[in-house]
């Protein structure tokens, strides 16, 4: 995401502004049912009243996401490196990986909740599961794409297997790992939110589904906006980190 020229930004701001004004107008004129589509002003006002609830829920969700994320990245990278570097292993496991990756993991969620109960554990487990697969798949691809010449050079200079991994394979896959981490975060967050909506007692997902059930539209829209902004901010931060670490490319 790069910033545009002033003209572009102007177009964006003006069109967003127009959309908001139209929405407000429609809501005030009664053309849309405020129960389902609240006016932007109502949404803005509700920010104050539910701030405590929403921020608390967000903090809770992000906390679980962080734990799930660490698990997903560590296990995903480890599995990715292991499977990617052993040609035989990769060939045998490839269809399994593809199949597991393609399964909508929500189908497994009820069972996970059955096993782990309600609350934090299933959220972390499912979030980690959700983030694990894309990370692993990306890392497998990256390991297999490591320039063969670099491996040959390292071996010619007498590198032993652990040195090959530490000094050639791992540095070579860093850009892909970062891309995987960026993707994995959104997946982990998604997984945690899904569990909170399905069987949660705390967290943003639970807050949002409660607000929906209570037909408190302005608060729900505000909460949705809050989560969206938080998510975009985190992804932007990761992108900036990515830029910094990729100076050599």
């Amino acid at each position: 995401m790069k910033a545009g020229t002033p003209r572009i930004v102007l177009i964006q701001v003006v069109s967003l502004g127009l959309a908001l004004v139209t929405w407000e107008g429609l809501a005030r004129a009664g053309w849309v049912d405020p129960l389902f589509v609240p006016a932007p002003s109502a949404v803005a006002r509700s920010f104050g009243s539910m701030a405590g609830l929403a921020l608390g829920g967000l903090a809770d969700t992000l906390g679980k996401t962080a734990v799930a994320y660490v698990l997903a990245v560590v296990l995903g990278v480890a599995a990715g490196v292991a499977i990617g570097s052993a040609r035989a292993l990769n060939d045998v496991l490839h269809p399994f990986v593809v199949a597991l990756y393609g399964i909508p993991k929500i189908l497994v969620l009820p069972w996970i909740v059955l096993l782990l109960g309600y609350g934090t554990a299933p959220a972390v487990a499912y979030g980690a599961l959700h983030g694990f697969f894309p990370v692993m798949v990306i890392v497998i691809g990256a390991v297999r794409d490591v320039d063969r010449t670099l491996i040959t050079v390292a071996r010619a200079f007498g590198a032993r297997p652990w040195q090959l991994y530490l000094k050639v394979v791992l540095p070579a896959i860093v850009p892909s790992v970062i891309a995987a981490m960026r993707l994995g975060l959104v997946f982990c967050l998604l997984g945690v939110l899904v569990v909170e909506m399905f069987a949660g007692i705390r967290g943003m997902g639970y807050v949002m589904s409660s607000l929906a059930n209570a037909f408190r539209a302005p608060e729900l829209f505000a909460a949705t906006g809050l989560v969206s902004i938080a998510s975009i901010a985190i992804v932007l931060a990761l992108d900036a980190l990515n830029e910094r670490l990729s100076r050599w490319r």
Binding site: D147, L150, T152, F157, K167, A172, V174
Partner: protein, 257 residues
């Protein structure tokens, strides 16, 4: 004094269409301090032979002795290799690439940094220490690759068409530069090339390989002094002789492929 003894080595590859003999009964001996070129048509197994010298490829028959001991795997204390693809690590700066071999051998950071930095001058890369490979030209990258090989200060340096990817003018300049380095360090260099010019300008001996399956067809001695007067009657005669030897093999390789 014979440093490298290649004794009847052979190598066979399994391909989808059956077994292919890359090398068959190759023998050659190289003295210490020599600049020996191996020249031959495409596919004659030059790179395989170099791989054997570097301990990366195991011969199916025969053996290679270096300083009287058989080659058994890469030996970074004795043999350094430069490939046609410089193979620089893109995430390492020039100086970090140069010290790679030393790093693998566990040399202390300060010392290997010093050794690598000292090489920058002779490599003509002063000021390029913190640059990344993508900021360098092809010729510069190859110089770093050669520097990386020189950094570990081995008695033997293998070069597999190191200038193959460069344009003709750069090649010639790099050849002159390489000669300078060799004359200063007096290492034993085995240089694989396609180029007759390079063979004649750089080497003390030229070994001509046959088309696949590769064998040493003949060895030409070049006792002329450096720098070579490429227009002199001796060189011109040798060039004709060399071309005569190679042409046959090149034609055979072309027909076979």
């Amino acid at each position: 004094m014979t440093l490298i003894a290649i004794e009847g080595v052979a190598r066979r590859y399994q391909t989808a269409s059956g077994a292919v003999d890359a090398l068959r009964d190759v023998s050659l001996s190289v003295d210490a301090g020599e600049f020996c070129t191996i020249i031959g048509p495409s596919g004659c197994g030059k790179s395989t032979l170099l791989g054997m010298l570097g301990g990366l490829v195991v011969p199916d028959a025969g053996r290679i002795l270096i300083a009287g001991r058989p080659v058994a795997g890469p030996d970074p204390r004795t043999v350094a290799t430069v490939f046609q693809d410089p193979g620089l690590f893109p995430w390492r700066t020039v100086v970090e690439n140069l010290e790679f071999g030393l790093e693998l051998q566990g040399v202390a950071r300060a010392e290997r940094r010093r050794a690598a930095t000292e090489l920058l001058g002779p490599l003509g890369l002063r000021g390029f220490a913190p640059k990344y490979p993508r900021e360098l030209s092809g010729g510069m990258r190859q110089r770093v690759a050669i520097g990386r090989a020189l950094a570990i200060d081995t008695p033997i340096v293998l070069m597999d068409e190191p200038f193959g990817a460069l344009d003709e003018q750069t090649r010639m300049l790099m050849g002159e530069w390489l000669l300078e380095i060799w004359r200063r360090t007096r290492k034993t260099v085995i240089f694989v090339t396609h180029s007759l010019h390079e063979a004649l300008a750089l080497s003390g001996r030229v070994a001509v390989m046959t088309a696949r399956p590769g064998r040493i067809k003949s060895v030409l001695e070049l006792p002329m002094p450096y720098p070579r007067a490429m227009e002199s009657p001796e060189i011109v005669a040798l060039r004709a002789k060399l071309w005569h030897e190679i042409r046959e093999e090149s034609a055979r390789a072309m027909a076979g492929s």
